[in-house]
C-alpha cells in the first residue's frame, strides 16, 4: 500500500496495461489523460518492454546447408499431383472464420486429448505401416477404405470409452487424422480447433467420422476425397438402423 493516490481504477488500468502495453482502448487513454501517475506508469512500462524486446532479439545463426532438396520424387505421388488443386483451395486459408475450441467432455475434446497423447502416430508419415496391418485394423472395425487412399497408420484406440479406428492419411494437405467410430451416429457434429489441431466431426452412413488436420485445417478437397473413400460394412449400418 503506497502513499500515492492509487485508486481501484488505477489498479485496473495497470493490470490491463501490463498485460497489453499496446492496448489503445478509449477508456484507458481517458484515464491516462487525467492521471499523471498512471501516465508515468505506462511510459516506464514502455521502457521495460523495450528492454524485453532487445533481450529477445538473440542473434540468428546463418542457415545450415540444406540436407537435400525438398523437391524430391516423393512429392510427385498422390499429393504431388494434387498440389495444383491445393494451391487453388489454399488461398481460402487466409480468410478463415474463427472456429470454436472443443467443449470439455465432448467427443471432439476427447479426440484432441487422444491425439496429444499419441504423437507417434504422425511419425508414420516418415515410416508408413505396411498395408496388411492397416487392412487388419480396418476389418476389425468393419471399415472399408478405397485401396488407393494413402493410409500410413492404423490402430484400434479407445476414445471417450468407444472403440475407434485411428487412421493417419498422408494426403495433399500433409498428414490428416481420420477417426472412425462404427455403429454410432454422434449428435455432436461441426468444426473445432485446439492448438495446431483443427477438425470436423460428422455422422456418415453406419457411424461417425472425425477428420483432423495437424498444422493447418484439412483442405475441403482432401476432406471430400476421404469422405468419398470411406464406408462402413452392413453389419454396422444394421446396428444404427435398429
Amino acid at each position: 500500500m503506497g502513499g500515492g493516490g492509487v485508486s481501484t481504477e488505477c489498479l485496473e488500468f495497470r493490470r490491463r496495461v501490463e498485460a497489453e502495453p499496446g492496448n489503445e482502448a478509449p477508456d484507458l487513454a481517458e484515464h491516462e489523460a487525467r492521471c499523471a501517475s498512471c501516465a508515468r506508469f505506462r511510459r516506464t512500462l514502455g521502457q521495460f518492454d523495450g528492454l524485453i524486446r532487445e533481450a529477445l532479439l538473440v542473434d540468428v545463426p546463418a542457415p545450415q546447408a540444406p540436407r537435400r532438396s525438398p523437391v524430391a520424387p516423393e512429392r510427385r505421388t498422390w499429393w504431388g499431383i494434387a498440389a495444383a488443386l491445393v494451391l487453388a483451395v489454399g488461398i481460402g486459408l487466409a480468410f478463415r472464420l474463427p472456429v470454436p475450441e472443443p467443449r470439455a467432455g465432448s467427443f471432439a475434446g476427447h479426440v484432441v486429448t487422444h491425439l496429444e497423447h499419441e504423437p507417434e502416430a504422425l511419425d508414420a508419415v516418415l515410416r508408413p505401416m505396411d498395408r496388411a496391418r492397416v487392412e487388419d485394423v480396418l476389418a476389425a472395425h468393419g471399415v472399408r477404405m478405397a485401396a488407393t487412399t494413402p493410409i500410413v497408420y492404423a490402430r484400434t484406440c479407445i476414445v471417450d470409452g468407444k472403440r475407434v479406428a485411428h487412421l493417419v492419411v498422408h494426403g495433399a494437405s500433409g498428414a490428416v487424422t481420420v477417426m472412425l467410430l462404427p455403429g454410432e451416429q454422434l449428435s455432436e457434429s461441426g468444426t473445432f480447433e485446439a492448438g495446431s489441431l483443427s477438425g470436423r466431426i460428422r455422422p456418415i452412413t453406419g457411424g461417425s467420422v472425425a477428420i483432423v488436420g495437424h498444422d493447418q485445417p484439412v483442405e475441403p478437397a482432401a476432406e471430400r476425397r476421404i469422405l468419398e473413400a470411406v464406408g462402413f460394412d452392413r453389419r454396422n449400418r444394421a446396428g444404427v438402423a435398429g
Binding site: F41, L57, I81, P119, S196, T205, Q216, E228
Partner: protein
C-alpha cells in the same frame, strides 16, 4: 461410399511439363517466405527450447514439413502464422523425444551462457537471463506479443488457450520479470 480409385485421385489434365514449371515457381515463392521469416521462426524456437542447436534443427525440420504441405499461400501474415504453428508443433515433437535432457535448467543456461551474455548492455543481459528462467507458460506469450507483435486473440489461437488466459499470463510474466530485475511495482 465409392471405392474405385478414380474418385480419390484427382485428374487434373496438366502435362508433366506444366506441373514442373508450377512447382519451381511455387518453390521460389516458398524459399522467399522461408528466408524472410526464418529469423522470427528461429527466435521463437529458441525461446521455446532455450537451446540454440535444437532451435536450428526445429526450424529446419519445420520448413521441410511446411514445404511438403505448402499450398501456395500468398498472404505473408497467414504464411507466418502457419509456419509458427508448425514450428511450435515441431518443438512439441522434439520435446517429447528429448524431455529428460531439456528440463535441466542449470545445464541449459550453462550451455547458452554465451548467447545470454552476447550484449553490451548489462540491463539487456539481465533481462535475457530472467526471461530464460521464466516458466514456459509465461515465456511463450511474451515472445509472441513483444517480439512477433501478435494480438491477444492471435496468441490464444497459436497456443490453444483462451484470450483471458493469455492476458493473465502476460500480466504475470511482466510482474515476475519486474520483481526479478528489481524494477518493483511503483507507487
Amino acid at each position: 461410399m465409392a471405392s474405385s480409385s478414380d474418385e480419390i485421385e484427382p485428374v487434373l489434365g496438366g502435362s508433366i511439363g506444366v506441373d514442373r514449371i508450377d512447382e519451381d515457381a511455387e518453390r521460389r515463392l516458398f524459399d522467399r517466405w522461408a528466408v524472410e521469416l526464418r529469423p522470427d521462426l528461429f527466435r521463437y524456437a529458441f525461446w521455446l527450447a532455450r537451446d540454440r542447436a535444437l532451435a536450428e534443427d526445429i526450424v529446419q525440420e519445420a520448413l521441410l514439413r511446411a514445404w511438403r504441405a505448402f499450398g501456395g499461400l500468398r498472404d505473408k501474415q497467414s504464411v507466418k502464422q502457419w509456419l509458427m504453428t508448425i514450428t511450435r508443433r515441431e518443438y512439441a515433437r522434439t520435446y517429447q523425444r528429448k524431455r529428460l535432457e531439456t528440463t535441466d535448467l542449470d545445464a541449459l543456461s550453462a550451455r547458452e551462457e554465451g548467447l545470454i551474455a552476447a550484449h553490451d548492455d548489462l540491463d539487456v543481459r539481465e533481462m535475457r537471463s530472467a526471461i530464460f528462467d521464466l516458466e514456459a507458460e509465461y515465456r511463450e506469450p511474451l515472445v509472441l506479443q513483444v517480439l512477433m507483435g501478435y494480438k491477444t486473440e492471435e496468441i490464444a489461437g497459436i497456443m490453444g488457450i483462451s484470450a483471458g488466459a493469455v492476458l493473465t499470463r502476460l500480466f504475470r510474466a511482466r510482474r515476475k520479470l519486474k520483481s526479478q530485475l528489481g524494477w518493483g511495482v511503483e507507487e
